[in-house]
Point group: C2
Chain length 301, copies 2
C-alpha cells in the first residue's frame, strides 16, 4: 500500500466522522408522544456505513468552489433517503432481512408497522431537512429549489425507486441487457448522480457542468455494479465478507453471465476510464474525489 | 334543503371534477420498464373521494387573492400525500384492509411489495410535483420554498405521520385526553392545516394571517373528529354507511367516552364557533369556504 493511499484512507475516515456529526445534528430530537419514531429513525440512520453519498456530494460541492454549510442539509437528506430505502427493502414483504451490518434491522427491533412508518418518516424528513436550506440562505432559494428537484427525481420513480420496482418485478427472471442496465442505472446510479448534481448545483456550476457530473456518476455507478458482478465469481468469501457465486445460485442476470468475466472486465475498464476522463475535463480540481471514485470502481469487497 | 345549500353542493361537485383534472395532469405518464408503479399510483390516487384537501387549499388561496396555476402542483402534491398514507395504512402489517371505498386496496391488486413501493412513490412524487412550481414561477422561489416546508412538516413526524405513530402505538389501549388530542390534532388536523397554510402562503398572506388559518384548520379538524365520535353513538348504520358503536366495541377512547354525548357536543359547538369566528376575522371573503368548513363540522356521515 503506498503512503499516498494510506493518507487518503485516513482522510476518508476523518471525513466519515465529520459527516456523522452532521447527520446527528439534523436528526430530530427524541421527544413527544411520537418519540419512538425518532428513535427508530436514529437507529437506522446511525447504523454505520461508508457515508459515500454525502461524501460524494460534499466533495463535488467543494470541487466547484462551494463553501460553508449550505450543502449540509442536503448531505443529511440524501443519507436519510438512502437509509429509508434500506429500511423498506429489509421488510418481510420485500427482502425479509433480519440483519444489516451485523445489527437487527429496524422492523425487527421496532415491529413491522413501525418499520414501514420509520421508512416513511425518513423519506418525508429528508425533504423537510433539505428545505431547511431556505431559512439558512433565502437569497439562494432558486438554487435550493433546483437541488430539491434533483433530490426528488433521482430518488423516485425516475430514479432509485424506479430501479427497485423493476428489480422486484424481475426477481427470479433472466433479463435482457437493457433491463439490467436500467436496474443498475436507476437502483444504484441515480443516487450517485443526485449527490454529484446537487453538489454542483449548490456550488453554482453551469448546466453543462452539471450534465457532465451526472454522466460521471452514472459511469461510476455502472462500473461499481459490474465490479460487483465480477467479484461474485473471482473473489473469495473471506475477502468479500459474503458468499460468492450467489448470482449463479440465484439465477441472476449479470454482466458476467451476459458477457463473461473477461469482456465484463474490459467494459468496466472502459466505463471507468471515461468517468475519470470526464472528471479531469472539469475546471475545478479535487484529487481526493478522483481517489474516492477510483476506490469505488476498483474495490475488492 | 335550502336552494342555497343545493347550489353549494352543485358547486362542490363541479370543483371536484376540476380538481380531478388537475390530479390527472400531474400524474406521471405510464411508460418505461417501471410502468407498473405508475399504474399503481394512478389506481390509488384516482379512487374517488371528496378531494377535500386540495379543495381547502385552493379556496384558501383564492380567499387571500391568489390567482393562476401556482397552487395546482401543491394541490396535487397534497392529495398524493393523503393517498400514500391510505395505501400504507391499508397494508397487512398496519390495518390490513382489503377494500377501500368499495374497491380492492392497492396492495391487494399489485401485491404487498408493490403496495409499499406505491406508497413510497406517491410520497416521493408529491415533493417532486410541488417542486415543479420552481420552474413555473422561479421569481416566487422563496414562497414556494416556504410552502414545501409546510407540506413536509405537516405530513411528517410533526404532523400526520406523528399522529399515525401514536395511534398505532396506542391501539387497544385507553388513553388520556392529551394523547387523544395529540392523535386528533396530528393525524387529522395537520393535513388540513397544511392545505390552508399553503394556500395562504402562496397567495402572499402575512405571517399572522397564516397563523390564523392554521388555528382555523386545527379547530375544524378537532370538530370533525368529535363529530365522528358523536355519530358513532347517535347515528344509524344506514345513514353512516358503516357499523355504529364501533368505538365501544374496540374499546377506543373518544370524546364521547371521556365526556359523554352532551358535553362532547358542547365542546364541538364551541370549537366550531371559534373556527368560523376566526375565518370571518380575516380580510378576504369566501362564502363557499365557510359553507365547506361548516359542512365538514356538521356532517351527518
Amino acid at each position: 500500500m503506498s503512503s499516498e493511499m494510506m493518507d487518503y484512507k485516513t482522510i476518508r475516515d476523518e471525513k466519515v466522522v465529520e459527516i456523522e456529526k452532521i447527520l446527528t445534528a439534523y436528526l430530530p430530537k427524541e421527544e413527544g408522544f411520537q418519540k419512538i419514531i425518532m428513535e427508530a429513525m436514529a437507529y437506522s440512520l446511525m447504523a454505520g456505513g461508508k457515508r459515500l453519498r454525502p461524501m460524494l456530494m460534499k466533495e463535488t460541492y467543494e470541487m466547484f468552489g462551494g463553501e460553508g454549510d449550505l450543502i449540509e442539509p442536503f448531505m443529511a437528506a440524501q443519507e436519510m433517503i438512502h437509509t429509508y430505502s434500506l429500511v423498506h427493502d429489509d421488510l418481510p414483504a420485500m427482502d425479509d432481512d433480519d440483519l444489516r451490518r451485523g445489527r437487527k434491522t429496524t422492523h425487527v427491533v421496532y415491529g413491522e408497522d413501525m418499520g414501514i412508518l420509520a421508512g416513511d418518516a425518513l423519506l418525508n424528513f429528508a425533504f423537510e431537512t433539505a428545505a431547511k436550506a431556505f431559512d439558512m440562505y433565502p437569497e439562494k432559494s432558486l438554487e435550493i429549489g433546483k437541488a430539491i428537484q434533483i433530490l426528488g427525481k433521482k430518488a423516485g420513480i425516475y430514479g432509485m425507486l424506479g430501479g427497485q420496482v423493476v428489480d422486484v418485478k424481475e426477481t427470479g427472471h433472466q433479463v435482457e441487457k437493457d433491463v439490467l442496465d436500467f436496474i443498475y442505472a436507476y437502483k444504484t446510479g441515480a443516487l450517485l448522480e443526485s449527490c454529484m448534481m446537487i453538489g454542483a448545483t449548490l456550488a453554482g456550476a453551469k448546466p453543462e457542468e452539471i450534465a457532465i457530473v451526472e454522466q460521471i456518476a452514472a459511469k461510476v455507478g455502472l462500473a461499481f455494479q459490474i465490479q460487483d458482478d465480477i467479484l461474485d465469481v473471482t473473489s473469495t468469501a473471506e475477502v468479500l465478507g459474503k458468499p460468492i457465486h450467489s448470482d449463479e445460485k440465484n439465477e441472476k442476470t449479470t454482466y458476467v453471465t451476459l458477457f463473461g468475466v473477461e469482456e465484463a472486465t474490459r467494459i468496466e475498464e472502459e466505463v471507468s476510464h471515461e468517468a475519470i476522463g470526464l472528471l479531469r475535463s472539469l475546471p475545478g480540481e479535487n484529487a481526493y474525489l478522483e481517489w474516492l471514485l477510483n476506490s469505488l470502481i476498483h474495490r475488492k469487497k
